[in-house]
């Protein structure tokens, strides 16, 4: 569904992605794990049209080479690191902005209900300014807002960042639920343990390069990964 070939990204003199290639299959949860500064966010920002890159990104047989708003229109939704909810607007306005490009009033209403079922907390707070939500609620809002664009694939950038362990579990459960709704998921995480537990396949990104790929199970059982990312001593 999404194929990336030999992607290079530079920030001035910094070579942040050094020839990354990967593919995402329809309907799967693919996770990319990597530590701070590995280039995970850079990869997602390239897909969603914010960065200039060398190499190619192909989505549904089409080369992606558009501005961010056109990329959303093609069914790609990027839930960014740090959530970036519109703090000055209500929860419901945030969700409706997620549906900005849609004109099917009925579909939007149905999806709004779906999001509220998935995140009952958001329904309780629909009229509240989203800046007053807790971190976990903001993450839910960011994901709900992403769903409102009715995407085919969701790019999730560290959804568990800064959340209490119990909430982390909730967020990962919800990601599994979202996949069951027929969405494809590209999940970028530092919390390798959790990410690998829900993913089908995984890539390991280190200093701008993919150093390993395989089924999530295999990666989770790989001794060097265990040591580096899962905190297990050899």
């Amino acid at each position: 569904m999404l194929t990336i070939n030999n992607l290079h990204v530079y920030y001035g003199g910094i070579h942040a992605l050094k020839g990354v290639s990967l593919n995402v299959n329809k309907g799967e949860i693919l996770t990319i794990i990597g530590s701070n500064g590995a280039g995970k966010s850079t990869l997602l920002n390239s897909i969603s049209g914010f960065l200039k890159y060398k190499g190619e990104i192909i989505y549904k047989d089409q080369k992606l080479n558009f501005s961010p708003n056109k990329i959303v229109q093609m069914g790609i939704c990027h839930v960014p690191e740090g959530r970036l909810v519109f703090a000055n607007l209500t929860v419901e306005d945030n969700l409706l902005l997620g549906a900005y490009l849609r004109n099917d009033k009925k579909g939007i209403k149905e999806d709004l209900e779906k999001v509220y079922t998935l995140f009952p907390r958001l329904k309780e707070r629909q009229k509240q300014l989203s800046g007053t939500l807790s971190g976990g609620e903001q993450q839910m809002l960011a994901m709900g807002r992403g769903l409102m664009s009715s995407p085919d694939i969701m790019l999730l950038d560290e959804p568990s960042l800064g959340l209490a362990p119990l909430l982390v579990q909730t967020v990962f459960d919800i990601i599994t639920d979202i996949r069951k709704m027929g969405k494809t998921i590209l999940l970028v995480e530092q919390n390798a343990f959790k990410a690998l537990s829900i993913a089908d396949r995984a890539y390991v990104l280190e200093q701008g390069k993919i150093i390993m790929e395989g089924s999530a199970k295999d990666i989770a059982n790989n001794p060097s990964i265990k040591e580096a990312y899962l905190g297990v001593k050899k």
Binding site: P68, N88, L97, Y100
Partner: protein
């Protein structure tokens, strides 16, 4: 008491025109985080457009007013496309935007002076509304003052409706909060920027015509319109309610200064107010955060 009410009415009337000007500064600031000093030039162009539409083309007043507003909306878009967009594409530091805006403002002023059929002469609008005031009890309300207030109030009402109740309005609010996140919603942020300049330009045109009718039209009118910038800072740059409240307060303070002290102190007080606000409460009355105002 009569004099007090009289001054209050005059203050409200001029303040509401300041508000029309100030929202233009605030809208652009809220999205792009810089003070668009070219806005004063756009207001001045609005005054000239209105003047020529009325005198040269002999258009009826409402047509001339809307025509001037549309013309300045287009002018504001042209300024954005030619001066700011290239800077945005290069991700220039915001200081460049301010310098560019100041340059643009000087350019606009001088182009009027340089044009042979306009030049530096003062122009006076034809008398469209009778100078005899309307009597309300012991109060005498100038017809033009009343008109200024009504037109400004209608415009501001429409703006509030547009920003708060339309999809594009919500998108403007979202973009003002975070431009990247709004692009992730599929919002064409370039289009939002154009919209914001067009709105500011439209109201600048209306304000320019009203201002021109009240006073006279000359190329340096932008110096006076800068006071609406003060009002925007006073209210909190980037906040629309702030811009309106700041403007009305400034209008009232000005008329009271002229009425009770001396009109010579009018501008002095306005600028002292600006400095005081910047020192005591840099984000203004309703500004969103403590960002530096440049």
């Amino acid at each position: 008491m009569t004099q007090f009410l009289q001054q209050l009415i005059n203050g409200l009337s001029i303040g509401s025109v300041y508000a029309l000007m100030a929202v233009g500064y605030s809208l652009v600031y809220s999205i792009m985080n810089f003070s668009n000093f070219a806005h004063g030039g756009v207001i001045m162009f609005g005054a000239y457009f209105g003047f020529f539409y009325l005198t040269l083309f002999r258009l009826p007043f409402p047509v001339a007013l809307i025509g001037a507003a549309l013309s300045t909306a287009i002018l504001a878009i042209i300024i954005e496309r030619t001066a700011y967009k290239p800077l945005r594409n290069r991700r220039a530091p915001f200081l460049y935007f301010i310098i560019c805006a100041m340059g643009m403002s000087i350019f606009l002023e001088n182009i009027i002076i340089a044009l042979p059929f306009i030049g530096p002469t003062f122009r006076t609008y034809p008398e469209i509304f009778s100078k005899t005031p309307i009597k309300i009890g012991s109060l005498a309300v100038g017809r033009l003052d009343l008109l200024m207030f009504i037109i400004s109030a209608i415009c501001l009402g429409l703006l509030v409706y547009f920003i708060d109740f339309t999809k594009i309005g919500k998108a403007i609010q979202a973009t003002s909060y975070n431009i990247k996140a709004s692009a992730l919603m599929g919002i064409n942020t370039d289009f939002i920027i154009i919209t914001v300049f067009a709105l500011g330009g439209f109201f600048a045109g209306i304000a320019g015509v009203l201002f021109g009718m009240k006073y006279t039209v000359y190329p340096q009118i932008g110096v006076i319109t800068n006071k609406s910038f003060i009002a925007a800072v006073f209210g909190g740059l980037g906040s629309l309610p702030g811009a309106v409240i700041g403007s009305v307060l400034l209008g009232i303070i000005e008329t009271f200064t002229s009425g009770y002290i001396s009109s010579q102190y009018r501008d002095l007080i306005a600028f002292v107010l600006l400095i005081a606000v910047l020192v005591i409460r840099p984000r203004g009355l309703m500004g969103k955060s403590n960002e530096d105002k440049a």
